[in-house]
């Protein structure tokens, strides 16, 4: 009756992922000469759907370009804005090179410390993407597992986990982040850069997992009572495997949407924490701190300090969002 259940139960049959096949008792159905993974991927629904969606291609291209620039900032960027010794204060506040007073070596102009805006954007995006991505992954990991367990097991454990969620939600997330970052800094006073990143990621991730846990729990509770889950139970599949292999793919839709939104939120949270003094140092500005600094110049006509970093953030957030949107549809068995 319900398409979704049929689909997932079928996933255990030949043609589905090999891991799922092992769950089924009895000999596996014979298959012909197995095409390579890559070939199967290219032939699959996923790739077809991707190729058929200009939005997906466009957003993936933009996101990849941003990620490429960020990851290879050291190679691509014309200057190294984090190397303080190379900064020329006398080159500060130059407009973009095509404007009057601009210098050719600073394509998008410079900020008030004489940093090349283009290079600073690439380096900044690296920090932002790293912090945003890592904290979203971490909070997704915690949130999804707790949500799955909570929704699947139910009962007291569910109540406990949900009450913890309520408590977490009753504090503003930036407050929790501040607390963690403050404690982290107090515990490791001399620590900088590397450890600061760790603290920052945890600080942003911890308040974030609640969203995932709640969303996943809700969907899991719905899925739990469906026939395909009961069928799996009846044939003796262990609960952990049911959760991971059968329930999880059906509840990932909202999680993917959430996480794409959360990446942007995490980037902004990082900027807030940095401003409050518990994030990254202003000498290695992230995209968020850069926007924050540029924001101060809004009225003075130095538009390049606001527009470029802002555009960069919008591009990253929007492309990830759009890509996530498509991914949700592509991975959603109900829509296939």
């Amino acid at each position: 009756m319900d398409h979704a259940q049929v689909e997932v139960v079928q996933a255990g049959l030949p043609g589905g992922p090999p891991a799922a096949r092992r769950d089924l008792p009895g000999p596996a159905a014979p298959i012909g000469p197995a095409p390579g993974r890559w070939a199967r991927f290219l032939d699959g629904d996923f790739w077809h759907s991707f190729r058929g969606s200009p939005m997906a291609i466009g957003s993936a291209a933009v996101a990849l370009a941003c990620i490429f620039c960020a990851v290879f900032a050291g190679v691509v960027a014309p200057h190294n804005p984090t190397d303080l010794a190379t900064l020329e204060l006398s080159d500060s506040m130059l407009p973009p090179s095509w404007m009057e007073g601009g210098a050719a070596k600073y394509l998008l102009g410079t900020d008030e410390q004489g940093r090349d805006v283009l290079s600073a954007l690439m380096y900044g995006a690296r920090i932002s993407l790293f912090v945003g991505g890592a904290s979203v992954l971490l909070s997704m990991l915690i949130g999804v597992s707790l949500g799955l367990v909570s929704g699947y097991v139910g009962g007291r454990l569910d109540a406990l986990i949900m009450r913890i969620c309520d408590v977490m939600l009753s504090f503003p997330s930036i407050l929790i982040a501040l607390l963690i970052a403050g404690v982290g800094h107090a515990l490791f006073p001399g620590a900088h850069d590397t450890l600061a990143f760790g603290v920052l990621i945890i600080a942003i991730a911890l308040p974030g997992w609640v969203q995932y846990a709640r969303a996943v729990r809700g969907s899991t509770m719905v899925e739990r009572h469906k026939e395909y889950v009961q069928a799996a139970r009846v044939i003796g599949v262990p609960p952990l495997r049911i959760m991971m292999k059968h329930v999880l793919p059906n509840v990932m839709g909202p999680v993917l949407v959430l996480s794409t939104i959360q990446v942007a939120t995490a980037i902004l949270a990082e900027a807030t924490l940095s401003f409050l003094g518990v994030g990254v140092s202003p000498t290695s500005p992230s995209l968020g701190t850069f926007i924050n600094e540029g924001n101060k110049q809004l009225f003075s006509g130095a538009w390049w300090l606001v527009i470029f970093p802002g555009t960069m953030l919008v591009l990253i957030a929007l492309s990830i969002n759009l890509f996530g949107d498509w991914l949700r549809d592509a991975l959603n068995p109900r829509l296939r």
Partner: protein, 527 residues
């Protein structure tokens, strides 16, 4: 029926309009919030400036920074160490209790006691005696010629009110605690505290029973709002949401001027911005150097000084609105030595050489603490300093943060290298010597000498300067003390920042060089 209704509507609208015409509200915004309503808990300009509208001291500053009688009508020196003050009769606190000599005695005890940040000012005072209901005598430990200047910063509080509210002691800002006096106020000033929401808004209303009678101000109400973001603060002024704001972000001065109907007031400020270094600990708290403290070596301090390109900081970061200085006081302060105001030359090579001589040919790593919402472009100055120091191999881990967390941290001396600004509230060099340069002790010396720079000769001179009455001798001693501090590079002075306030043309006000804003001198045209 309909007509009656509309008539009533018109009448009520008129009544409302009339009421709003009557209440003149001035909306002021600042970069940060006043930390506490307690006038003794933090010796900081904004704090003293704002509470100075609610609380008053025995003597106040007039519009030209001269001394003027306030709660004391008359003062005379009866012997070299004894001063007599006649108190103003008929003064009432906002809660109605009369102001008497008991309150003055109590205030001095409070300001000298635990938790007070004003000990530096009460330190030279031996005893405060009540000699009548409206007269007191102050005896100093040694002759103290600048006592009246000092008294301008000590706000009088009500003994009864403090006792009733268990606020007999100011709370120590360093420990981040609060008491009733932190968020309520009961002064004698021309304005009363009506509402206090930390970091959101603070509202003062006119005190109709002020002893000064009618003020030249026509304000009924002042709404003070901290707006941290520079652009937002400028936007609030330009859109008419606020009437006065300070400080004006330097990058926006032209923008505000060109908007018409607004005035930017720029003047040299008394405040000196400088860098301090931890010279006390045997090992720095936050540095790559272990087992020793590089800042104990004068060559390292001198190398830091010479590596900083203050002229470029002035022209770029400060957009010209700063006076680079070699002294810890500005030209307007008594004791400033014009001929000694020569900075060590900016010389990267010389700085590198000094560092190498001191045993750090490859530099070292140290954490720098910096506020990002206290002084004009403070965080940008620190970044520029960090970039300068990178050229001599010193790697700065810059930690810039909001002043709410910055000040408690550095006041606990939890820092190795920091930026601070200091306005001598007595407008006299002794204030800087005693608060910033003298060796810290529990008698109120060196309260803001956060790196604990110490030179016994300077301490000795500071004590002498405090009691010297001969102006010539006094000035010579100040010279000597400043020379010692310069030779030791006890601190690295950077510049005196320019004051910048902006207000709409409806407002007329008086800007004092110590950056105090007294609402009693502000008028707001109703148009």
């Amino acid at each position: 029926m309909k007509r009656i209704f509309s008539a009533a509507l018109v009448a009520s609208t008129l009544a409302l309009a009339a009421a709003s015409v009557q209440a003149v509200t001035l909306r002021v915004s600042n970069q940060g919030d006043v930390q506490s309503m307690d006038p003794h808990s933090l010796n900081e300009s904004l704090q003293l400036s704002f509470t100075g509208n609610v609380y008053e001291s025995l003597i106040e500053r007039d519009k030209k920074m001269g001394l003027a009688p306030a709660l004391a009508t008359k003062w005379t020196q009866t012997s070299p160490t004894v001063w007599r003050f006649d108190l103003r009769p008929g003064v009432k606190f906002h809660d109605g209790t009369p102001f008497t000599a008991d309150d003055v005695v109590f205030t001095f005890k409070r300001a000298a006691g635990d938790g007070s940040d004003m000990k530096g000012y009460t330190n030279p005072i031996k005893e405060v005696r009540k000699v009548g209901d409206l007269a007191i005598e102050i005896e100093t430990t040694a002759p103290y010629p600048i006592l009246p200047d000092t008294l301008t910063t000590l706000a009088m509080m009500s003994k009864k009110w403090c006792e009733d509210n268990k606020a007999e002691k100011p709370v120590d800002r360093r420990k981040g605690i609060e008491n009733t006096a932190s968020f309520k106020a009961n002064g004698t000033g021309p304005f009363r505290l009506k509402e206090r929401q930390p970091s959101v808004r603070t509202v003062l209303v006119k005190n109709f029973s002020w002893w000064g009678g009618k003020t030249e101000s026509n304000l009924d109400e002042i709404v003070f709002t901290p707006i941290g973001n520079d652009s937002t603060r400028v936007a609030a002024l330009l859109s008419g949401e606020t009437d006065v704001m300070e400080p004006v972000p330097l990058q926006d001065v032209e923008r505000i001027k060109s908007a018409g109907s607004f005035t930017v007031l720029q003047g040299p400020e008394l405040r000196t911005i400088f860098l301090g270094m931890d010279q006390k600990r045997d090992e720095l708290l936050f540095s790559s150097v272990k087992g020793k403290n590089p800042f104990k070596d004068v060559r390292v301090r001198r190398a830091f000084f010479q590596a900083i390109d203050e002229e470029t900081i002035k022209s770029r970061v400060m957009r010209g609105a700063a006076l680079p200085t070699a002294e810890m006081v500005g030209a307007a302060v008594r004791g400033f030595q014009p001929d000694m105001n020569k900075r060590l030359p900016y010389d990267v090579e010389a700085a590198k050489k000094l560092l190498a001589e001191a045993g750090y040919p490859n530099g070292f790593e140290v954490t720098m603490n910096c506020p990002n919402d206290r002084y004009v472009n403070d965080s940008a100055i620190c970044q520029a300093v960090a970039a300068n120091l990178a050229r001599i191999g010193v790697k700065i881990n810059l930690q810039a943060e909001t002043k709410v967390s910055y000040f408690p941290k550095i006041l606990r001396r939890d820092t190795s290298f920091y930026l601070l600004g200091w306005t001598p509230s007595t407008v006299d060099a002794h204030d800087v010597l005693a608060s910033i340069m003298a060796t810290p002790n529990d008698k109120g010396q060196g309260t803001f000498n956060l790196g604990a720079y110490s030179n016994p000769k300077l301490d000795e001179l500071t004590l002498k300067i405090q009691s010297e009455t001969d102006q010539k001798k006094r000035n010579d001693m100040i010279r000597e003390a400043f020379k010692i501090h310069q030779d030791d590079v006890g601190h690295i002075p950077l510049h005196q920042q320019a004051l910048a306030w902006a207000h709409s043309d409806k407002v007329s006000l008086v800007q004092l060089p110590n950056n105090y804003m007294y609402f009693k001198w502000i008028t707001l045209k109703s148009k």
